[in-house]
């Protein structure tokens, strides 16, 4: 559609995704709810990509960043309202007002609250921002650094992290009593143990799961590695599709604004400097998915509840992990 004037056949299904979603947004429900959620997910991912992989070499426009940020916030708020579960306690931005009148930028990263000191495998950007800034640019692959925490920092003691996550854990156990662990925790996983593995029952019905809960889980279970860009495949489109967005949602709340609005001294914290320093690493990200591509990847999975028939039970879980890992990568700007 957006080529250089090349003619194409008129395809009635072409705008199915967009058209449906717009309609669904207007009507607010019914069978188009899935496509609405799908579009929301797509837009969320796109917005993250835009913020962390800007195309321009020069300073991106503030208006553009503000509009994309507003979009992300709106989607996050919507997800929170829909999800209903208590989200992770997010650190409130606690940057002191700039004393220097020339300091026009938002440069102070918010310190994480004590209850949320992350384990070294956690990806909360608070740890990211606290890490020694010089490590960002010197490390050849920033995302590995972030996945495993700053090398110079000692592993945070599990006890403070338990405060933050144990409450989340309790919620998980409340909601998903029949959790079955299907994948082994990745190396460096949080000390909370198997309960934090994705508690996705084999090939089953995920409708009972609250999206935020899964988001909590995913946030502590990162896996580095190069991954397929596809944010799919969800087993059930409605709850799964919100997973990665909610997980990234919590994280982006912490990271977004700091990185967005730093006007001064961004070279230390700027992912762009690192990705450009790491050369072609950034270029290896798969091309952005179009809404059309999403439809195609979704089609093998049919409607909610059917699930993949031929894939092994662990397959979708791995793919969900893969999906989230990719979002982590996006977040840390690899």
């Amino acid at each position: 559609m957006l080529g250089k004037g090349a003619k194409r056949k008129h395809d009635k299904d072409d705008d199915g995704l967009e058209g449906d979603a717009v309609v669904a947004a207007g009507r607010g429900g019914g069978p188009s709810k899935a496509s609405y959620t799908l579009q929301r997910q797509t837009i969320f991912n796109m917005s993250l990509m835009k913020l962390y992989h800007p195309r321009a070499a020069v300073e991106p426009s503030l208006e553009r960043r503000v509009l994309i940020n507003n979009m992300l916030r709106r989607i996050q708020d919507e997800l929170r309202r829909e999800g209903g579960a208590q989200p992770l306690p997010l650190p409130l931005p606690a940057s002191p007002p700039p004393e220097d009148p020339a300091d026009e930028g938002f440069r102070e990263p918010p310190p994480p609250p004590p209850g949320l000191a992350p384990p070294d495998s956690c990806l909360t950007p608070a740890s990211l921002l606290e890490a020694d800034a010089s490590l960002f640019c010197s490390s050849p692959s920033p995302h590995t650094l972030l996945f495993h925490g700053a090398p110079s920092r000692p592993t945070p003691s599990p006890s403070p992290s338990k405060d933050g996550f144990s409450s989340a854990l309790d919620e998980i156990e409340e909601l998903c009593p029949d959790v079955a662990t299907t994948t082994s925790p990745p190396p460096g996983a949080s000390p909370q143990g198997p309960q934090l593995s994705p508690m996705l029952p084999a090939g089953g019905d995920l409708k009972a799961r609250k999206p935020d809960v899964r988001g909590v889980v995913m946030a502590t279970d990162p896996q580095p590695g190069s991954l397929d860009m596809s944010p799919c495949p969800p087993l059930s489109s409605s709850s799964s599709s919100t997973t990665s967005s909610s997980s990234s949602g919590f994280l982006t709340d912490l990271a977004l604004d700091d990185i967005l609005f730093a006007d001064i001294d961004t070279s230390m914290y700027d992912f762009d400097a690192c990705t450009s320093a790491s050369g072609t690493g950034a270029a290896k990200i798969a091309p952005v998915m179009t809404a059309d591509d999403l439809v195609k990847t979704l089609s093998p999975y049919g409607g909610p509840g059917t699930g993949p028939t031929s894939a092994a039970p662990s397959q979708p879980f791995k793919m969900d992990l893969a999906e989230l890992d990719h979002i982590m990568e996006v977040l840390v700007g690899s």
Binding site: M1, V22, L67, D263, T266, A291
Partner: protein
């Protein structure tokens, strides 16, 4: 269709095109602003490479009564150079964001040109005579031996080939932390305003080391930033009034007499959102990319992504007229968000009588709306229809169903060919349309 911008027999014809023809467009040649001066005699363009090219209209020739005066290059100069902000380790683009002419007060012409950070006042003057017959130096400039001078003579002014010189007279720098999006000369001809994403400053044309901040919407905590300034303009007659638009689709009119800092608006223009057309992109497409007062000063026009709205300054709750520019893009917003086209900043302009308005679109299309007859037309700036005095054929975009002959379907539109900048001669039916690196000039057909 005939009728837009003039009587029923009105038609637009191709007049000229400036710029290179080849497919490979150098980034630096992309035109970033177009502006006629107050008389329409001069037409200035700025490009991404920081250059300004000024065209001057030829006097109408008696030999060819059917062709109005053509615009030919009058002056070319490098206005801005790329800079490097060492504090932020970021490049400052030399791209000319806006050019605004000052009213002519003597033989020289003055214009303001700005990039993201610095505004410059340029003087463009002609030199067509030079003095000859100096006593102390030869014609080629060498000093004559004083002992050889035996008589005195009075130097005489002799005609020479016309030389047009551009010299920077003022440089207004270091007043904007964020990117300048607008400049506007005040009706007092002494002051002007410059607006960036979060602040608006008022300058005196003679004073470069000081400017007054009159609007500041920067929040104490930048994390709370959800709205930025997108455009600003001074009222054409009331030197105390100006407006600025925002990324949330609102316009604020401020009176500088009310307070030194105009953070509190005098009037607030916003159209309530139509709930039936709400989508994820509602906010982004409501962001106003341009605001222009009418010549009369009674109305103002705003351009958002899909429409142009005309507002009566006396009515704040909704516009008096709304024109759809390319409504067929509404169902494509997701794709346009993906490829960033949704952030394109289209400008708009009035004709001299305020009876018609014009704005650009994609595929090198541009649209004109006649406010009186309510007719609208879509025209194309293309090399194919660039024969001298060729009448422009109206174009039509097919939105669905069967595509008629000569219609173009939405999916075939070239979104890389966007017309963001257009200008209308202040007195006549002559328009300048910037299509990437080419400047097209169209005129009305004399019947």
């Amino acid at each position: 269709m005939a009728g837009v911008g003039g009587g029923n027999d009105f038609q637009w014809c191709f007049s000229q095109v400036k710029g290179a023809i080849d497919e490979d467009v150098a980034e630096a040649d992309i035109i970033s602003t177009v502006e006629f001066n107050y008389s329409g005699e001069l037409l200035a363009t700025g490009d991404k490479g920081g250059r300004v090219v000024i065209f001057q209209r030829e006097q109408e020739s008696k030999n060819r009564p059917h062709s109005r005066g053509e615009y030919n290059v009058y002056s070319t100069f490098q206005s801005h150079e790329p800079e490097f902000d060492y504090l932020k380790s970021l490049e400052i683009e030399e791209k000319i964001n806006k050019i605004r002419w000052l009213p002519q007060q003597n033989a020289a012409h003055f214009l303001l040109s700005t990039n993201d950070k610095t505004i410059k006042l340029w003087k463009i003057s002609e030199r067509d005579k030079r003095a000859e017959g100096y006593n102390l130096k030869d014609e080629d400039g060498r000093l004559r031996d004083p002992f050889r001078i035996t008589s005195l003579r009075v130097p005489v002014l002799m005609p020479m080939d016309l030389m047009v010189e551009a010299s920077p007279r003022r440089i207004f720098a270091n007043a904007h932390t964020y990117h300048i999006n607008s400049i506007s000369v005040n009706s007092d001809h002494e002051t002007y305003l410059s607006a960036d994403d979060l602040r608006i400053n008022l300058w005196h044309l003679e004073i470069t080391d000081r400017s007054f901040n009159i609007v500041d919407i920067k929040p104490a905590n930048m994390e709370e930033l959800t709205e930025v300034i997108t455009a600003a303009e001074c009222h054409p007659h009331q030197c105390n009034v100006f407006v600025y638009s925002s990324s949330k689709g609102t316009i604020r009119l401020c009176d500088m007499r009310a307070a030194a800092l105009c953070d509190r608006h005098t009037k607030f223009f916003e159209e309530p959102e139509d709930p039936s057309s709400r989508s994820f992109f509602s906010e982004i497409i409501s962001s106003i990319s341009d605001v222009k007062f009418s010549h009369s000063g009674r109305y103002m026009m705003t351009r958002d992504y899909l429409s142009v709205k005309v507002w009566d300054l006396n009515m704040e709750n909704r516009p008096v007229e709304t024109y759809q520019v390319h409504e067929y893009l509404r169902s494509k917003l997701c794709s346009l968000y993906e490829n960033d086209c949704i952030f394109d900043k289209f400008e708009c302009c009035w004709n001299g009588s305020d009876g018609a308005i014009m704005t650009g679109s994609y595929n090198n299309f541009f649209r004109m709306f006649d406010r009186n007859t309510r007719k609208d037309v879509t025209l194309e700036a293309s090399r194919e229809s660039s024969k001298p005095r060729a009448v422009l054929k109206p174009r039509k975009v097919c939105t669905g169903g069967k595509r008629k002959k000569d219609e173009i379907s939405v999916d075939s539109l070239d979104f890389n060919k966007k017309i963001l900048h257009t200008a209308w001669h202040p007195k006549e039916n002559v328009i300048a349309v910037a299509a990437t690196n080419n400047l097209y000039i169209f005129q009305d057909k004399i019947n």
